[in-house]
């Protein structure tokens, strides 16, 4: 009886461990996918809202301010709850994945829009004056002259923001998605090995940031640095 129970618990542990590792791998995958999708949303919306925020048209500017104030000024988790639990009351029902990507992405885009605005306003006045003197329409000036310079200036801050976004994705646990943190917690609960699984979670986030986000931002920084420095940075 004693032997059987021992053997049983051994099997149980191995089973839990194997199951947990598979779940953990899936959690990593989910976190990466949501981070990727939400980053695209954050970048696209951040750029558009940031541009709107500096528009010469007052109603557009006001819309930009309201957007930023809302998404930056209220809790991300409460926003996710609204998307997931409140909107269905009004007949708008979205899958957890859609909510995760849009909800996290739009929350972060509020901060991103401010980065975009600061970078656009930071481009030297002389660049705007030269563009006026060459008769550029405003949108062409933005696209060809101002944004390429502004993007270079805003990239390091975007690097920070996207790493923040990655870590913020753990909140999607509350809308039923098992991502990295949740998978680590479940695995730790099932096996009792809290040290191991939370160590894995800790390094997991670090590695995703270091291996996926940082290299992309660095690569973009190099790309947009042409002409600003005599030698491209390493």
């Amino acid at each position: 009886m004693c032997r059987r129970s021992k053997a049983g618990s051994g099997t149980m542990n191995e089973f839990a461990l194997g199951f947990s590792v598979a779940a953990l791998a899936k959690g990593v995958f989910v976190t990466i996918l949501i981070t990727f999708g939400a980053s695209l949303v954050a970048i696209a919306f951040g750029l558009v809202i940031g541009l709107i925020r500096v528009s010469p048209r007052r109603p557009l500017r006001w819309f930009g301010i309201a957007y930023i104030e809302f998404f930056r000024g209220t809790s991300m988790l409460v926003q996710l709850y609204w998307w997931f639990f409140v909107l269905p009351i009004f007949g708008v029902t979205m899958s957890p994945w859609t909510v995760a990507i849009l909800g996290v992405g739009m929350n972060v885009s509020g901060y991103g829009a401010e980065l975009v605005r600061a970078a656009i306003q930071g481009v030297e006045r002389g660049q705007y004056e030269a563009s006026t003197a060459l008769n550029f329409p405003r949108l062409v000036m933005m696209r060809r002259i101002i944004l390429p310079q502004a993007i270079r200036a805003m990239l390091p801050a975007w690097g920070n923001l996207l790493i923040e976004l990655l870590k913020g994705t753990s909140l999607i646990f509350f809308i039923t998605i098992t991502e990295l943190t949740t998978a680590a917690k479940l695995a730790a609960d099932a096996t009792g090995n809290y040290l191991l699984f939370f160590a894995i979670a800790l390094f997991g986030y670090y590695l995703i940031a270091r291996l996926l986000i940082t290299p992309i931002v660095r690569w973009l920084e190099r790309r947009f640095s042409r002409g600003f420095v005599r030698e491209l940075p390493i």
Binding site: G126, T132, A133, L134, F136, R152, G227
Partner: protein
């Protein structure tokens, strides 16, 4: 006599309580070369910036080739110009700045090509040909692929001149274009301007501290003082026997400084 290329009619510019230009009246004839001199704060740079529409004016009208630039005529009344009208008239004017304002993320050639392609809608090949020709003309045929950071101040300013010319303006404005240059680089930029003046049909209006160049190059020199033209005339007259006491004082101070 034909209508002037540019006419400032009672143009006033104020910054808050400060009146920078006080009812300026100034006609510039086609192909005329006019230099504007004067102490700092006299409003001379503001004249160019208003004509380039970088500053709004508070009163008066600016005319380009007989057409109001700052206003347009609607049902017989003068109303402030729409963006479309402004862009059409502004196309006749080009400007070179004290601090070059080249686009740092583009090569010399791209700096010159960008506006002809994306503003005038020229095919890339044609814009490139035009730009290359102009860079050759300013003596930078071998620097087409260089970024601004790889060029000296004098070279940057010559690219800026080529860039403005690529839009085929009728009026060129030069705003203290040699003031930010090391002394030994001033000559190469002035030579390009000199060559422009002699080989092209261009109306040129320049704010300058290079009295020697203004004297040799201009058809007319305007001395600004306190937001008004205190004295104007042919360079020989203005530099050698000015009528106005202010002009005399300014010239002796400037010439003394070398």
């Amino acid at each position: 006599m034909s209508e002037p290329m540019v006419r400032f009619e009672n143009v006033t510019k104020r910054y808050g309580a400060l009146t920078v230009l006080d009812e300026l009246n100034l006609d510039i004839e086609r192909n005329e070369k006019v230099s504007i001199i004067g102490p700092s704060g006299s409003g001379k740079t503001t004249v160019l910036r208003m004509l380039m529409t970088l500053e709004k004016i508070n009163d008066g009208v600016i005319w380009v080739e007989g057409e109001p630039m700052t206003h347009e005529q609607k049902n017989g009344a003068m109303v402030p110009a729409s963006d479309r009208h402004l862009r059409r008239v502004r196309g006749k004017v080009g400007m070179v700045f004290q601090h070059f304002n080249l686009f740092p993320h583009m090569t010399a050639l791209q700096n010159c090509m960008e506006a002809p392609v994306s503003v005038l809608g020229l095919p890339k090949g044609e814009a490139e040909e035009r730009s290359a020709e102009l860079l050759d003309m300013v003596g930078l045929g071998d620097k087409k692929g260089h970024y601004p950071i790889q060029l000296s101040g004098g070279q940057k300013q010559r690219v800026a001149i080529a860039r403005a010319l690529a839009m085929r303006p009728k009026v060129m404005l030069f705003d203290e274009v040699t003031s930010a240059l090391d002394p030994e680089l001033v000559g190469e930029v002035l030579n390009v301007i000199r060559q422009l003046g002699s080989e092209h049909d261009l109306t040129m209006l320049m704010v300058t501290h290079q009295m020697g160049f203004a004297k040799e190059f201009s058809d007319r020199v305007c001395f600004f003082y306190g937001g008004k033209i205190a004295e104007q005339g042919p360079p020989d007259k203005l530099f050698n026997e000015p009528d106005n006491e202010r002009t005399r004082q300014f010239l002796s101070a400037v010439l003394e400084a070398g």
